[in-house]
Amino acid sequence: MAKTIVSPRQFFFFRKRFVFLRYFVSALFIILFIQTSYLQIIEGDKYEKLALNNKEQYIPIPTHRGEIFDRSYDPSSEINAPLVTNEEKMGIYILPVHLTLKDIKKTLYHLSHIMEIDYNEKLGQFTNRANFYEPFLVKDDVPIRIIAQIGEKIQDLPGVYWEPIYYRKYPLGHFASHILGFVGKINKHELTDRSEDMEYHLNSMIGKIGIEKYYDRELRGEEGRLLRIVDALNRIKDTHVVKKPVPGYNLVLTLDKRIQDILEKVMTREKGAAIVIKPDTGEILGMVSKPDFDPNIFIKEPDVEKILKLTGDPDKPFLNRAIQAKYPPGSVFKIVTATAGLEEEAISRNDTFLCRGYFRFEHDDRVFHCTGIHGYMNILTGVEFSCNVFFFNVSYKLGSRKITKYAKWYGFGERTGIDLPGEQPGFLPTHKWKKKIFGENWYDGDTINYGIGQGFLLSTVLQVANMTCGIANDGLIYQPHILQSAYSAETGDLIFKKHKKLLHNIPIREEKLSILRNGLHLVCTYGTANVAGQFSKISMAGKTSTAQNTFGEPHAWFSCYAPYNRTDDRIVVCVFIENGGGGGEVAAPVAVAILNAIFKDADPVSEKKKIRATVEKERYKKFLRRMQDRGFLEDSIEKTDIQF
């Protein structure tokens, strides 16, 4: 054989060691045998009786979910009004451990005589639960009087105990519903994602959208556990708190209740979104998306009818239009094209292009229309009147890649990383993408459409607001955020404070930026938002946009910052009305109303109405004047009486 067989003698020098080891292992097994016999035979008998008499029950101790406050929260004061709070109700539970089904039937039967519950229904619920051993909630919102009665009869009610249940409460109803979100019962998917976190179990409530979802772990806290020793008659012998419950953190948001309230009021009955940001920190002072919903319908007994009506609504009230939907930005994107044109030296301050009302490439029949016939346009007037022909020329000179370069610097095409769930990244088209999807090359026509914010480009409302922040804040864009700080609910200590984080530093020189700002200011004084701009009680700079889209009326945009002439306390306001119509006519009046309300305490709703009426009147006058110029009207315009 190839392998030599070793004779036992050759093993010998380690054989002794091997035998020794065998004795050693045998000894260990003998010790184990003795210990098992001791525990089970000698001590087993003793414990058997003890175990039968006294039972140990472990009961979870619920904890408060953290409250949510707006930025006016004062940690030293005790009377802060929360945006989200908890409501305490008493619940009656059965702990099924140690009990037979017969015991439980008996208990439920007795309970059905004390409180208003249906015996058969509860028994059915009990037996159909996924986990037999978890505590079973028999009834919530039980008055103290009933609790006292149960306490008296506890001997007939094995396994019964009572404990507070904390329900989430949104005292302001619709207020900031997309941001705050709501909680609901955990689903299977959410549970398996968190299978390693012991704080989540079958009965858990979990944040479903908004801050409640994003900061669920911080808000949740930790459940406690109580050990209760009861005797055979279910009398409580002893209780120990095995683990103290830890309440969740109280969160303070960057939201300003006053500003949010203005946004809520002014946007009522609109479909769209509005955002107010502090550009020098990225703090979101207000953010609304309409239509919205009342989160309270999901709490306690969920109002199924209302929820179904809302989920079936074609206007999608649960969609946060500020971050979760993407739209063509339209002319507000001209800010990006203008920055690229100025910085890449494609145009200078004094270069002009002639606008005849359309644009056409050489050797090509396609015609690209402008919003009007503007004549000779330079960068200032181009922005002021939102002249498409001017920006067609600039985009054509630049090429799409350079526009994309600057769009990325302004934060288009990527998530801002705001602390809310479900943010969309928007979309910046590329040559490769078009080839892949349409099987076509990228044409110059695509480039010039891209330069005016139309075509394949898509962005979120937040991205447009963020771009405006870059203009207002000398090219620095900070990450937008909602959470300001977190406090311990027990001690009131500061746990966490959010610091501002620089997202983009746009490489734009000061003199170029001031040209752009000047142009944006002109928009609000003589340009596309001149009528609304007249009403503004504070100097402002902004850009309108009437974005064409395939779903109907154009989207109305207006994104602005104020004050224009001071650099301190600047805020950015971005208003978006879905399928609203003209940016200057529909969105700008809303933004001006918001600014007047924020800075001068004007009533936002009446302000909006007044401005929109005037805008309509002016438009009508303009229309009449044009008719008159063309000889359709005989009377002079001054004689025509216009009633609104």
Binding site: M1, A2, K3, T4, I5, V6, S7, P8, Q10, F11, F13, F14, R17, F18, L21, R22, V25, L28, F29, I31, L32, F33, Q35, T36, S37, L39, Q40, I41, E43, G44, D45, K46, Y47, E48, A51, E56, Y58, V97, H98, A130, N131, F132, Y133, E134, K188, T192, S195, E196, H201, L202, L227, H240, V242
Partner: protein, 375 residues
């Protein structure tokens, strides 16, 4: 090369293992119902998973019955290299998956492995190979012992980094005892042991939870509600069980009281539900399996087979002993699975593969007339 003469494998060992597996899986089902329902909404989840792995293990046993164990001699270096690579990979966040505080899993889609389990067997194969191939390993320090020591420590520290103190302990004991019976000079072993002592002291006292476990072990009743909790609950399970137990599936300790009733503390569940008789059956089966394994080692036809079988015997006994000692409150709490019984695919597969190797060694045993080592 002459075809080796195969004999019949050790059927007694095989029978004992499958008897144990059958007993184990019924107890595992009882112990895991609560956990399966809570984590997977399916009370059979753990049971079915374990059944699948028993099936897979059986395939390995059948394969290994026909694969000459000398193959492992040739691929020993490959196996140890693979094992070290996996142990390094598992430490990289993103590849290694955190499970209850230690990074011990590599998961690729539905496939998950625990490299530290593989490392145990890989080390046994490698040490058997190196101690057979080079006699100087056992007698010369610089040229033989030191390189081997470096490989052992590499694996030991990689496992500690996860951190998995229990498996680290098992690895160091396997390496030490296998070196010991391979005839290594006593002075090497003693000096290594003295070198390890300060490290062990550091590991125990500097890492908070281990120190707490140790203190809790010394006097669990000092803090019965918190740190001494696991020990007390485990001991209590045995006391409740008594002579005949509370009956299959009727135990309550597994519901809220015992930590990890389906893995580390399954013996406590067995003690409670089947009583002393069940515990005794389990103990007898384990002792018999170890006895058969030792017998196979003594009758192995060559030094490699002897060392391999001894190493496997050591691995099985140390895991059984540590787990059962923890369960009965004889040593402090260390998270180690019980071979063939606890839930866990990697551990079960490695143990069944080990049995397959043992059976193959038994098929190539020394002819009986040369005298058996049975005594």
């Amino acid at each position: 090369m002459i075809r080796p003469e195969y004999k019949a494998p050790d059927f007694k060992l095989l029978a004992a293992v499958y008897l144990l597996l059958a007993f184990g899986i019924s107890m595992l089902y009882s112990a895991s119902i609560g956990f399966s329902r809570m984590a997977y909404h399916n009370q059979y989840y753990v049971f079915i998973q374990q059944l699948i792995f028993i099936g897979l293990g059986t395939v390995f046993i059948i394969l290994l019955l026909t694969i000459n164990y000398h193959l492992f001699k040739r691929i020993a270096r490959l196996i140890i290299m693979l094992s070290v690579i996996l142990l390094v990979l598992v430490l990289i966040p993103g590849i290694g998956k955190m499970v209850s505080g230690s990074r011990s899993w590599i998961r690729y889609k539905f496939l998950g492995i625990q490299p530290s389990e593989l490392a145990k067997l890989a080390l046994i194969i490698y040490l058997s190979y190196i101690f057979t191939k080079k006699r100087m390993t056992t007698q010369n320090f610089l040229g033989g012992y030191l390189p081997t020591l470096i490989i052992i420590s590499t694996i030991f520290f990689l496992v500690l980094l996860q951190p998995d103190f229990g498996t680290g302990f098992v690895i160091i004991v396997i390496a030490g005892l296998l070196s010991y019976i391979s005839g290594i000079r006593t002075i090497y072993l003693f000096s290594t042991a003295f070198g390890i002592l300060p490290i062990a002291y550091f590991l125990i006292t500097r890492v908070g939870y281990r120190k707490m476990r140790l203190l809790a072990f010394i006097n669990p009743w000092a803090d019965p509600m918190d740190k001494g909790y696991h020990i007390i609950q485990s001991i209590k399970s045995f006391q409740i069980g008594g002579l005949t137990g509370v009956g299959l599936g009727k135990g309550v300790q597994k519901l809220w009281y015992l930590p990890q009733p389906h893995t580390d503390f399954i013996f406590s569940v067995i003690g409670e539900e089947t009583g002393f008789l069940g515990s005794l059956l389990l103990l007898v089966l384990f002792i018999y399996i170890v006895y058969r394994a030792v017998r196979i080692a003594m009758n192995a036809s060559d030094r490699f087979g002897f060392l391999l079988a001894s190493g496997i015997s050591i691995m099985l006994s140390i895991q059984i002993l540590v787990n059962l000692f923890v369960n009965t409150g004889l040593i402090p709490v260390t998270g180690l699975p019980l071979p063939f019984i606890s839930y866990g695919g990697s551990s079960l597969l490695i143990n069944m593969i080990s049995i397959g190797i043992l059976l193959n060694i038994s098929r190539l045993a020394r002819p009986a007339e040369e005298g058996t080592a049975d005594d």
